[in-house]
Amino acid sequence: MTCFPDAPDAARRLLLKGALAGGLAGLGFAASGSFAFADADANANAKDWPADAFKQKGEAETLKDLYGKAAEVSDKITLDAPEIAENGAVVPVSVASTLPNVTAISILVLENPNTLAAAYKIPEGTEPSVSNRLKMAKTSKVVAVVEAGGKLYSASKEVKVTVGGCGG
């Protein structure tokens, strides 16, 4: 199976990181609201997509790119995922939190080629709860990250994958 490609062009990533380091905090969906909601009637807009965060490997790097900060472990996050996923192509993952003022939820699969799987923006009035289905290349820790009141919190769970979700 050919899940893991050669490392992406590290030099390019570094360059991008350098160039964007300053702007990334704003690019992440920070509580500042610098991002989106500008035009409520607009359709989904690809320019909002945090491209660099989706290219990262590793939890710390991904969170730095996405939010510009690190997460602390919290027991106020519920991460619901199977102990064993027979089919890595479709792994149901749900995240919910009882933290107040949640503004974003993201889900990271640490052993995937790129760590960030999905990120969700939770505006005021939307419940801090999301369910989706993700691909997992192999057995991995899955990390749920919740942004609440401008801070990041996380919870994680190991999911064993019997057949990787890379189709190979």
């Binding site: 893991f4 960030l116 969700y120 369910s131 993700l134 691909k135």
Partner: protein, 103 residues
Amino acid sequence: MASTIRVRAVASGDSTEVQSLIQHPMDSGFVKDSKGELIPAHHIEVVTFEHGGKVVFTAYWGPAVSKDPYVKFKFKGGKKGDDLKVSWVDNKGASDSMVAKIQ
């Protein structure tokens, strides 16, 4: 053409539960075809859900989201008969949108 989006939004009490399924290959860019050539990445990047002129939920998806992606969330407000607009755009610039009625 049939919409790529299927959405079911049900109002209950003061909140509305939304479940949506979108038809999309969500190719990761890491899988080879039968000739051994990489299938290029082709995945949805952004999905927005809008109710009453306000974006109530935005999803940012990478290639690790499963084929024909499913997502479920809940927002406060929303009454039976209200419009809920769903739209997506992928990394090749394709897009689709639809308006569903809250049940």
